[in-house]
């Protein structure tokens, strides 16, 4: 029976508490600042809490730039990209883990190799491609380049390989072909991995900044991150309250989604650290 060192535990708790406060602090400040009257910033006074609740800052932010469009665009793009990635990756992962064909392992390594290419290299040629295809300022530009991901193929293959062969053999004996095995056996058993990867994919798509910044110019087609950036372009250092209100509006959806699906996100992150 091991004795718990209560003093050490207490100290640990206090440290965690302090770190936790420093994590939450900026969020509180963001909300507090968004409720201030804008001139409060330029006066010497101004304590921790705003003097009044100026909810009109939110209305201001919402109407200055088309937040409704931003929200809709982000949702549409992220949902489609997530489903797309889940589908293409699970297909490929199934092929790599459950099938045998010549060149399988070599091809998998080739897939992995594409993960080493940083987005900054491909973004210029892809931008040129978008220009040629006339996909600038379109949903296609935001969705199509992201439908396939080697990352997903890798993660899901690792997971699929842990599913016992007996289940698959049983299905084969019943006369099932690969498609049936895929969607009747493998997919149902992979729910945890799929939802974890799905969460990460969604997060990545939602917060994507550089690519939409390049490829979307029309304000009504922007996604939330670059929409928020345009709000900063209009209010700069002159009106912090409205800018903070905009930041809250932009950050809220993902935070809410995260709170409801924390387990999936955290599992997804942990998955990424798994090496074979």
């Amino acid at each position: 029976m091991r004795k718990r060192n209560h003093i050490a535990d207490g100290a640990a708790f206090i440290v965690l508490l302090l770190v936790g406060l420093s994590m939450l602090g900026p969020f509180f400040w963001m909300i507090a600042a968004s409720l201030r009257d804008k001139t409060e910033f330029f006066r010497q006074s101004g304590g921790l809490f705003p003097s009044g609740m100026h909810w009109e800052n939110y209305l201001n932010a919402w109407t200055t730039v088309p937040f409704a469009n931003f929200l809709w665009n982000s949702i549409l793009v992220s949902v489609i990209v997530t489903f797309g990635q889940l589908l293409t990756s699970s297909f490929a992962a199934y092929a790599f883990s459950r099938m045998r064909f010549p060149g399988r392992d070599g091809l998998f390594i080739a897939y992995l190799a594409t993960m080493m290419v940083p987005t900054q290299v491909t973004m210029i040629p892809l931008f040129i491609l978008m220009v040629e295809l006339k996909w600038v300022d379109s949903y296609a530009a935001l969705i199509v380049p992201f439908l396939a991901t080697a990352y997903g193929c890798f993660l899901l293959r690792q997971f699929f390989m842990t599913i016992p062969k007996e289940l698959e053999d049983a299905a084969t004996i019943d006369g099932a072909g690969h498609w049936s095995i895929y969607h009747r056996v493998i997919l149902p058993l992979s729910k945890p991995a799929l939802s974890a990867f799905g969460a990460i994919a969604f997060l990545g798509s939602w917060n994507n900044f550089l690519w939409p910044l390049i490829v979307i110019n029309r304000p009504s087609m922007k996604t939330l991150p670059i929409g928020l950036q345009s709000l900063q372009g209009f209010y700069g250092d002159g009106n912090w309250s409205v800018l903070m209100a905009g930041a809250v509006i932009a950050a809220l959806p993902m935070i809410v989604i995260f709170l409801f699906a924390q387990r999936h996100f955290i599992e997804g992150i942990a998955l990424t650290g798994i090496k074979e």
Partner: protein, 316 residues
């Protein structure tokens, strides 16, 4: 190999192609071909509105000249290395500490995990905006707190309180503090993410190791260095590599936090690529810069693979 297995393999190949087609096409068109595209563009001079001009290796020559004789690229590289060299160890150390504490399974662990992870989930655009206000020299919380720190002092027989810091840093507007400001913010943002990774790694260490160490009479400090740290090395290496690669690619928070302010001390490599490509419309030169970045990242990744392989084979 008999006829039967040949047939199975053939059938598998056909079906496999169907399963692989979507990802294969996607990766080919949007990952592989663009690499060659980037190389091709780097040999051109193009401003997107007029037809491109073939210039051979001129862009690379310009790159080299700016690197050795000019000052922009040198400064940009130094900034990028400075950023990476500061954020990676800081982030790893602090997140390891957090993971170790979380691993004690105290009360409220789940809540802590959520709180620490919150910054990683929030759009870094929104976080940049908040931190820009936090760093505001006169109205931001950080300087307000710094200026509120006071030390007791004895003067004329009474105890008075004097402010500890009379000249708080100018943060984003000041040459020496701009990059540290961004470093602090970046570390803060990534802590939760790395802590979760470390936590997963820690939980993968069997308790038998610790038992053996305890039997040998090891102190907690020794246990850390003899058991925890070595067994965490794959995780550490992974985090290290990801963080270094991420460090070289940093863009968003710099773009957001220094918007409208002069950026010589905080301009990093990807920011330079972006500026050359989409502000100055020198797509060829920007592509050359990007390709150079690719080579560097490739070397780092291959290095990590090699080390992992060596460790795996020697069973370290």
């Amino acid at each position: 190999m008999n006829a039967f297995s040949n047939r199975i393999v053939r059938r598998d190949t056909a079906v496999a192609s169907a399963f692989l087609a979507p990802s294969f096409i996607g990766l080919l068109v949007f990952s592989v071909i663009p690499i060659f595209g980037a190389l091709v563009v780097s040999l051109l001079q193009w401003d997107i509105l007029t037809p491109p001009k073939y210039v051979g290796l001129a862009n690379y020559v310009t790159l080299w000249e700016d690197l050795t004789k000019g000052d922009t690229l040198k400064r940009v590289l130094v900034n990028t290395v400075y950023f990476t060299a500061a954020t990676v160890p800081l982030s790893m150390a602090i997140s390891l500490m957090i993971a170790l504490l979380l691993n004690r399974k105290l009360w409220g662990m789940a809540a802590f995990r959520v709180i620490f992870f919150l910054p990683s989930v929030t759009s870094i655009v929104a976080l940049s905006i908040v931190w820009r206000l936090l760093y505001n020299p006169e109205h931001g919380l950080i300087n307000k707190m710094l200026m509120a720190l006071q030390i007791p002092w004895v003067s004329n027989g009474h105890i008075t309180f004097l402010p500890l810091i009379t000249n708080p840093p100018g943060w984003l507007g000041s040459p020496q503090w701009a990059m540290p400001a961004i470093i602090i913010m970046s570390v803060w943002t990534g802590l939760g993410y790395n802590a979760i990774l470390y936590l997963a790694g820690l939980q993968g260490i069997g308790s038998s190791y610790y038992e053996a160490a305890r039997i040998d009479g090891a102190t907690p400090w020794q246990m850390f260095w003899a058991v925890t740290w070595p067994l965490l090395s794959p995780t550490s290496l992974f985090i290290f590599t990801m963080s270094v690669i991420g460090g070289f690619q940093v863009f968003t928070q710099i773009y957001m936090m220094t918007a409208g302010l002069p950026t010589p001390q905080t301009e990093v490599y990807v920011y330079q690529i972006y500026t050359q490509a989409f502000t100055n419309f020198r797509l060829g030169y920007a592509s050359a810069l990007a390709f150079a970045l690719f080579i560097v990242i490739l070397i780092v990744t291959l290095g990590q693979l090699a080390i992992t392989r060596r460790w795996a084979s020697t069973g370290s």
